[in-house]
């Protein structure tokens, strides 16, 4: 079992950089992500529709699937005890097959709340060739000690 904390709050400092994650996007990436998120709209699987009706060069990643990518990027780093509290994102441009998307992240907050829950804020970017496509800010709970488990919190003890 791999339940030991990979990352605890005292090990994180404002300004820490997450490892970059590059990923080569294919049409399969886009279609798998759209169907897994039950998004049947044609611009996420039909290139002719995307080009003729949306005026873009190809099918493109849908928003709910990007949320899943951001979650994966963050929890790859925190391990399974990292628990998402809040995520805000802004879409600035589309991601197409043939693009290499790159995720980057920087810690911008490390705090404990009144209930003793440890929180970090992370600024995450998804860019292609240096152009920002989606910006995301996430708030995650991390274990404060090796024995702590943010998933055990609920009600008044969970204030995301």
């Amino acid at each position: 079992m791999t339940t030991a904390p990979r990352l605890t709050l005292p090990a994180v400092t404002v300004g820490d950089r997450l490892p970059d994650l590059p990923y080569d996007v294919t049409a399969t990436t886009v279609v798998l992500g759209a169907l897994a998120s039950r998004d049947w709209r044609p611009m996420h699987h039909d290139k002719d529709f995307a080009v003729d009706r949306n005026g873009v060069r190809d099918i493109f990643l849908n928003t709910p699937n990007q949320a899943a990518w951001f979650e994966r990027y963050l929890t790859d780093w925190t391990g399974p005890r990292g628990r998402l509290g809040r995520m805000t994102f802004r879409m600035k441009g589309s991601v197409f097959p043939g693009d290499t998307m790159v995720f980057t992240g920087t810690v911008d907050e490390v705090v404990s709340d009144d209930t003793g829950c440890g929180w970090i804020g992370v600024d995450v970017t998804l860019s292609v060739g240096g152009d920002l496509k989606t910006s995301c800010h996430a708030r995650l709970a991390l274990p404060t000690t090796d024995d702590d488990n943010p998933w055990s919190r609920s009600g008044d003890r969970w204030t995301p």
């Binding site: 079992m1 791999t2 339940t3 990436t29 798998l32 992500g33 169907l35 897994a36 998120s37 039950r38 998004d39 049947w40 928003t63 709910p64 699937n65 949320a67 899943a68 990518w69 951001f70 979650e71 994966r72 929890t75 790859d76 399974p80 005890r81 628990r83 998402l84 509290g85 809040r86 995520m87 805000t88 994102f89 802004r90 879409m91 488990n149 998933w151 609920s154 969970w158 995301p160």
Partner: protein, 176 residues
């Protein structure tokens, strides 16, 4: 000052469009989603880890809205419910033919588990005065979508900021 009509003012803060999901939360979509983004988090793949950390399997938190996207087809259905119906209501009521979503926030509460039957409600939180951006002239609005499970526990809240507008030079009330 407010220049909104009374019927739109009256909708602010009101729960609307309560709807149950079309199917219970299930692990097939959890694995399809993890597979699509190569998410190897053992919480979703190793039941011993899920038992130890989350008291049994859960769905990835960011899948919240997945459980409410309607089937592409269903028998006897004559109209597809839109996940953000208030957004489309506002476009029509305000005569704003174009709209974009500018920001989306998701707040995660109790974990969503396989077998859960979720319910959603939409709440209009605010509508701005008329503003002009590079897209055109229109209004920003904030819509919240609340999700609860079969026990009534809050599992998440999504908040969308939309901007409904007319392109510069077009007339008010032009059909979409």
């Amino acid at each position: 000052m407010t220049d909104l009509s009374a019927d739109i003012e009256a909708l602010i803060g009101v729960e609307q469009y309560e709807e149950a999901g079309e199917f219970p939360v299930e692990r097939g979509y959890v694995w399809s989603t993890c597979s699509a983004v190569e998410n190897g988090n053992p919480l979703f793949w190793d039941d011993d880890v899920a038992d130890a950390l989350t008291g049994g399997p859960i769905a990835p938190p960011t899948m919240l809205s997945v459980w409410f996207r309607p089937h592409h087809w269903a028998p006897g259905r004559d109209r597809v419910a839109l996940p953000l119906q208030i957004h489309f209501d506002l476009k029509e009521a305000l005569g704003l033919p174009e709209a974009v979503m500018t920001e989306n926030t998701i707040v995660f509460h109790d974990p969503v588990r396989p077998g859960d039957l979720l319910t959603t409600r939409q709440i209009l939180r605010s509508v701005s005065p008329e503003k002009t951006t590079k897209l055109g002239t229109g209004r920003f609005w904030v819509i919240e979508v609340e999700y609860t499970n079969q026990a009534g526990a809050l599992v998440g809240v999504e908040s969308y900021t939309g901007f409904g507008y007319r392109r510069a030079g077009s007339e008010a009330g032009v059909a979409p």
